[in-house]
């Protein structure tokens, strides 16, 4: 078995994954990836997943080794924000051609690394493997090693070619790459008992910044966010944190678990979506830090902040409640934990008529049932046509989903809100939830819907079209 196949098997065997643990030995061997159906598949590849997970590291060069498609069709399209370097938004690719395929692309890759160092001098380069060089046997691990030695800089191979599996697998393979090559390679200037890691948060639309001020206020330091608004050195010294929070479902569970094993950093799975979830997460962070030796008064201060922020958020949502009461939401989401958004929407008085559970664990589904009642409409795999019908027949008032399915809603002339990675609004923490409610309200009550659904004049019956009009207008004019 190749080393990549080994890594994939290992990732499939994730002991901290509840969904995985519920399976039989035989099922587990098959891996957590459903076999993709040709002609009926949607979603990104493992390379896409790896890039999503690591591209938010802002000060490194992300170099894609492959033909133009992998980077040329996708660069600078993700919504992760940076407070400093913009280098992560520069598209670097070897753009391999026919000659490279015949003679191998390793030389071009090595030269590319050199050029990037000469021109941009980043603290590190992440090199992404893709399908074609993987097929022709380019050993990017060896090239990276040689380049690192030659140039005295970390050159990190991310071995996650698209065809090994879906996006989610790529998230984890990216995690393996930083576990193997980055984490634990540098030391922070100083540490405090209040140092935490946030794992699996990508700072989409600047969401991390909706929570960070609260942590700052509590004196809790984000030693490393993996990977939103991250810097290379912060990831490299993340092993010195006292505790960790794992966000975004299972995307980087392997990173959290292995850091617990290797560096004894306890972690919990939390979410910054929803008021109660945010409060729970803050409490959990404080609890873990206190367990690791932070003064117990941290919890009291945390409760004060929570009480204040919750009150503010409720006050912010209050005016929308009567406007949103009873409105029905269809929630189609992959990455974001469904139940955490469900709870948040219910807080605003909205009614959930369906939610996708494609990537949810059994535990998640139980939680959804608890929140939505036994008749919760959980959708495992809904075809676009079914979603369209549901909206067209007005069984839902608004759809919340990712960008690709927006037109299902818009073509049904029904409101839609983007809650996926290309979104422009940030919905995290207390302020984020008020923002989400405000956006839903804006979408639902926009006067455009009524106009869009208005029949064209020629669609009414001819008799109606000429109703109430002056009986003999032309002749009246003629008489004047």
């Amino acid at each position: 078995m190749t080393s990549l196949a080994n890594t994939v098997q290992e990732v499939f065997n994730e002991p901290a994954c509840a969904k995985n643990q519920a399976k039989s030995e035989k099922e587990r061997k098959k891996g957590c990836t459903k076999q993709l159906a040709p002609g009926a598949a949607a979603g990104g590849c493992a390379f896409d997943g790896a890039k999503i997970a690591l591209q938010p590291i802002t000060d490194v060069a992300h170099l894609v080794h492959g033909p133009i498609a992998c980077e040329g069709n996708s660069w600078d399209n993700r919504g992760a924000k940076s407070s400093g370097s913009q280098l992560y938004r520069t598209g670097f690719t070897t753009d391999i051609n026919e000659t490279d395929i015949v003679f191998g692309g390793e030389k071009r890759l090595f030269k590319s690394i050199k050029e990037i160092i000469d021109k941009y001098d980043p603290p590190a380069i992440f090199v992404y493997q893709t399908c074609v060089p993987a097929m022709i046997g380019d050993d990017i691990g060896a090239v990276c090693k040689a380049a690192a030695e030659k140039f005295g800089k970390p050159i990190i191979p991310v071995i996650s070619p698209g065809f090994v599996g879906p996006k989610n697998l790529g998230n984890k393979l990216a995690g393996e790459a930083i576990l193997e090559h980055v984490i634990g390679t540098m030391e922070p200037e100083y540490t405090t008992p209040y140092d935490i890691n946030i794992i699996g948060e990508y700072n989409l639309a600047g969401e991390l910044w909706q929570v960070k001020p609260l942590l700052d206020e509590l004196g809790i330091r984000i030693l490393s966010c993996i990977s939103g608004d991250g810097k290379y050195k912060e990831v490299a010294w993340s092993h010195r944190a006292r505790a960790a929070m794992m966000v975004c479902s299972k995307a980087m569970i392997n990173v959290a678990r292995k850091m617990e094993e290797r560096y004894e950093i306890p972690f919990f799975e939390g979410s910054f979506y929803g008021i109660e979830d945010t409060s729970d997460s803050l409490r959990e962070i404080a609890r873990l830090l206190i367990e690791r030796g932070a003064p117990a008064e941290l919890m009291e201060r945390t409760e004060v902040v929570i009480a204040r922020e919750e009150a503010l958020a409720w006050k912010g949502i209050e005016p929308y409640k009567p406007r949103l009461a009873g409105k029905r939401v269809l929630l189609i989401t992959g990455g974001v934990k469904s139940w955490s958004v469900v709870a948040a929407l219910q807080e605003a008085g909205l009614e959930l008529v369906g939610t996708s559970v494609k990537k949810s664990t059994k535990e998640d589904k139980e939680k959804i049932k608890e929140l939505m009642g036994q008749d919760a409409h959980m959708i495992d795999d809904m075809t676009p046509r079914e979603m369209y019908r549901m909206l067209k027949d007005a069984r839902a008032d608004i759809m919340l989903s990712g960008g690709r399915s927006q037109f299902i809603s818009l073509k049904a002339k029904m409101p839609w809100l983007d809650i996926n990675q290309e979104r422009h609004h940030a919905y995290a923490g207390y302020v984020g939830m008020v923002e989400l409610v405000r956006e839903i309200d804006k979408a639902l009550h926009n006067p455009v819907w009524e106009q869009a659904r208005r029949a064209a004049p020629w669609e009414t019956k001819p008799s109606e079209m000429f109703e109430n009009c002056e009986p003999d207008l032309p002749s009246a004019i003629a008489a004047e």
Binding site: G39, L63, S112, I116, G165
Partner: protein, 473 residues
Amino acid sequence: MRGAAMATVLKPKKACTVNPLKMSQPMGGAMAMMGVANCMPVLHGSQGCTSFGLVLLVRHFREAIPLQTTAMSEVATVLGGFDNVEQAVLNIVKRAKPAIIGICSTGVTETKGDDVEGFIQLIRTRHPELSDVEIVYVSTPDFKDAFQDGWGKTGAKLIHDLTPERPAGAPRDPDRINVLVGCHLTPGDIDELRNMIEDFGLSPVFLPDLSGSLDGHIPDDFTPTTLGGTSLNEIATLGNAAVTLAIGEQMRLAAETLEKKTGTPFVLLDRMTGLAPNDDLMTFLARTSRREVPAKYRKQRGQLVDAMLDGHFFFGGKRIAIGAEPDLLWNMAGWMTDLGAVIGAAVTTTESPLLEKLPIETVLIGDLEDLEGAAKDCDLLVTHSHGRQAAERLHIPFFRAGVPMFDRLGAGHETSIGYRASRNLIFEIGNLFIASAHEPDPGSWRTEAIESGIKAHAARHETSNETAGMEAL
């Protein structure tokens, strides 16, 4: 165009592409398939190949995009993709009921060397029930050529596979004309051109025709395949037309293929914006239809000439940096130099006979890093939306042209063909110049003119230095 000197076409020596201008060939192929009615385009590759392309086109058109994948896994890639192609075809027929499935290859399946034409034959023998579904395959490896090549090849392959040969001397419909359009025309351009042609009493068939499928209308029901587009019957009867009009050098292959199969003669227009190219278009339509040019176009021509006179003050001497595929580059460079602008930098994606005719010393097949470097002394940046970072760093106005245009509304309705659209473009870009003009101040009284002279000299010098460091194609 006035530039008489031949431009040298260069390829950079550097190994690493930085900030790609180019998009991959199969994406161009798939987008062309989207201009065929009731079609499901498929990329034969890993699911990521489709997913990236899909997201890109969704963001450009702000429309649902029909595009499927054969979802090749690592194992399937090594063993060969027959099973995946077969399953994809069966699944698509079951779920979407298309009239045609258009398959484009990718880097993965071309590296393996899948014989997809052979696969299709085998699928035909194994599944006679699929006889009413057309399957067209185009070879479009990612590691060769670019977006517009994929588009052009697909146009030609559709004709090759679906338009039957025609006996010599069979009667032609004198009012019918075929219009083979390049990917630098938007759905809005096709609508505009259709109106013009119909105003001459002719009935056009467009191939590929995105004006029905990606023009942003609201259908009555949800369809998983393309909506609108060229019908199979229209493709099958392309040979009955009196003549073919091809727009863009990239459509030459398709026009020649049609001529070879059916004897239909063609006229190729390589430009669509500006006075002379549209005079040519009007002349062509008047001759084909044997009708006078309608009054409204005479009026529009007058307005264009007036706009050119008003606009030339702002275009004259301006240095323009353009990053675009060859046909789009040729068109943009052409109409702007017609107004006295100078092409200060030209970067493109793939080879084309047009490149050496451009009015500039060197044209680079390169990326946006090259364009940004060469645009330092330019007054305007013209490229697709990915130029936004460069424009910000250069502090010069930025005009978005080409695919993708993901950070503006209405990409599908931008028009540049005809007198009217030419007039509007002059206003739009002229206004960018006006908005970025600097107010004179007491300190700048003598420097403006002199400095721009020095700048132009330095730029020429720098270009020739750079030329020394690059290898000519």
